[in-house]
Symmetry: C2
Subunit: 405 residues, 2 copies
């Protein structure tokens, strides 16, 4: 039903924008490369007959008209931004699968009652600007528009300025968005579908997530003249905190705990570090377990502070509880997979996705496809044309079903 070669070719074409030596993709949110990716996508969507709008946070909406334009669209989509060491599929697949659905509907002259709308959500990765899923978060009302526009990256550049700079500070308001239903297709980014040898993951929800910034304050002094017992080494204290994050996650299986970002100040090899800025990312499918992890983190910090004399400030700047997707939408995905003969299993998303925030205001679910060795956020991220074809076919089927109801 869909054109698998065309989908694959588009994926490979888009991957050239920010393509890396190791075969991955580095297209950070609101950089020149993000702009190029967005522009290529808009060109394709217009060629496929879609009307295009951009909202005040830079989300792109491409609409294929329905027979009854007074009805809310059936939505799909994902994001075009990547991690610094990103792959060719994370996010992009969900956007281009949406485009392929529209192209296939055109090929087969299929009219739908509801319009079909593909969204590209701004800064889903949360890597250059934190937190993640900003575009969908603003539309859902979880984040204030102004607060998000005022976010800065590690070099102090303001999100709102970067959005203007790349020409994607649009005029459509971020409020009042409606979907009859919303489906996001995404690679799993984890090992479970592959381990269970399933083609499709029917995503029933997403795990909860807590993001923190931690600042550790020690005292700079000379690496050669300061006796070991007189030091107040912020980096040494941070090693205890990093290990505690690991321990807390392991003690709350299947929770995850990660320190991915860290800056050492003054970062001079013969000065004992006086200050560390680091991120902490805790996740769990159960909210009570996530709370327990949060509590264990605070306790660990108090212990490390008193053991080391290094002061630790913890800023818990982002939290969202585990998400449960809409039963009808979940069933639509499961039915589509079964009807098409794809092996499938229910699964919980380990990553955050725009669909998690869309589900605040619209019936939503997700379609997962396997990725090689469960590896994502890595340039070697890999999946096959057949796996993409399966995911996109399920998406087409689910959209068509919902767009008639």
């Amino acid at each position: 039903k869909i054109n698998s070669d065309r989908l694959w070719d588009s994926l490979m074409e888009m991957a050239k924008i920010g393509g890396t030596e190791k075969g991955g993709c580095k297209r950070l949110a609101l950089t020149d490369l993000d702009k190029q990716g967005r522009e290529l996508y808009i060109k394709w969507a217009e060629e496929a007959g879609c009307s295009v709008k951009v909202d005040a946070i830079g989300n792109i909406m491409c609409t294929r008209p329905g027979e009854d334009m007074s009805l809310a669209p059936v939505g799909t989509g994902s994001h075009l931004d990547t991690q610094p060491t990103g792959g060719k599929f994370d996010g992009v697949f969900g956007v281009l699968a949406g485009l392929e659905v529209v192209r296939s509907l055109n090929d087969q002259n299929i009219k739908t009652k509801h319009p079909v709308e593909i969204s590209v959500w701004t800064n889903e990765e949360g890597s250059r600007f934190a937190p993640a899923m900003m575009g969908s978060g603003v539309v859902s009302g979880r984040f204030g528009l102004q607060e998000i526009l005022d976010t800065t990256d590690v070099d102090g550049l303001r999100l709102g300025d970067e959005l203007e700079r790349i020409g994607f500070a649009g005029e459509t308001p971020v409020t009042g968005r409606k979907f009859h239903a919303f489906f996001e297709t995404h690679i799993e980014q984890g090992p479970y579908l592959e381990a269970e040898n399933k083609q499709i993951g029917v995503v029933t929800g997403g795990q909860g997530q807590r993001w923190y910034n931690a600042t550790l304050l020690g005292r700079e002094s000379h690496a050669g003249t300061t006796p070991m017992h007189l030091r107040c080494d912020a980096l040494l204290a941070s090693t205890q905190l990093i290990q505690k994050v690991e321990d807390i996650a392991k003690a709350h299986a299947p929770g995850c705990g990660t320190v991915g970002f860290m800056q050492v100040v003054p970062n001079s090899r013969n000065t004992i570090p006086g200050k560390i800025e680091m991120s902490i990312d805790l996740r769990h499918p159960l909210d009570e377990e996530l709370s327990a992890m949060d509590k264990a983190l605070s306790e660990a910090i108090a212990e490390i502070e008193s053991a080391t004399g290094v002061a630790i400030q913890l800023d818990p700047f982002w939290y969202y509880e585990p998400i449960h997707f809409d039963e009808n939408c979940v069933n639509a995905v499961r039915k589509a997979a079964n009807d098409l003969g794809y092996s499938n299993m229910d699964i919980i998303a380990g990553a955050g996705h725009d669909a998690c925030y869309v589900s605040d205001f619209a019936p939503t679910s997700m379609i997962f496809t396997p990725c090689l060795n469960g590896i994502s956020h890595n340039e070697i991220e890999s999946t096959t044309q057949e796996e993409c074809e399966a995911g996109c076919s399920v998406l087409l089927n689910a959209i068509v079903t919902m767009a008639e109801q």
Copy 2:
């Protein structure tokens, strides 16, 4: 004998160049601020009647003529570059104490048999470009000129290009320098003089030093979807290495071990770190102990590699054995301190100093003065006018004695 107010005023004047909010000084080697500091110093030296030369590695030599210009000069001096979180005295004091000696000799119309030469050595700190003591190291023949010019900073800027840019790639060759004797005045940067309540440290030698770059290679993957037991987290492995560096130093008292520099790749909060670049700095006054520390480090790395699956490359790019200063020069410093009635003690330098490399080719020693709480490489580094006066008076006395012999 010296003009203490003038010395202090010059220190405070120089500290304005790169002065920081917390009262420190950030004047990294071969930056625009380093250029400004060098130019101010040259102006002062010329006003004091010195002739000025710059060599191919940017060392500045300011000479007050002696009665017999065929004789090798008595040398003094230190460096004008600072740490990123540097103080107002580290290095600068040794340069301006040299200038104050010349000014005082002028005031009192004292002629010396040997010329007196003040050196400003390029990039002593080793912070922006590693290793440290580059200017004196090139002159001593420890480093090749070309190799040092080709060193790059963390942004990939080449030392030779930066030297040209600030106008300090001079014409005087780096070879053939001679000193009848060399004395460097410096704040102790450690706690011992203060603890023993002594005004002057008679520096008999410097501890040995080993610098390494370590690269840890794990595997990037997603912070939310990668189960804890499937991770290969380079940052987590680095915490073991940092703790081992600490343990090794403590097991070899009074050795020191420090990780001051670290970069996380890709440094994205929701990607498990795939690569860590970090520095390791090991020091000990006894060479056999320093070797034992080096061996313990290699063993620890092998253990961490096999325990974590993270590959660790260790590049031992700098080593110098403990330094023993010239007995005559050491005695000259001790005698000057005693003659002037300053309480004093013998001491070993914990930091590397240009004098350590000068002692390769000339009779050398150093004069230490206390600093508040033994803290250096910190913006709050502090010392008093009286302490500076004592150090500079001992320097004057030692120089005059040697310049007559």
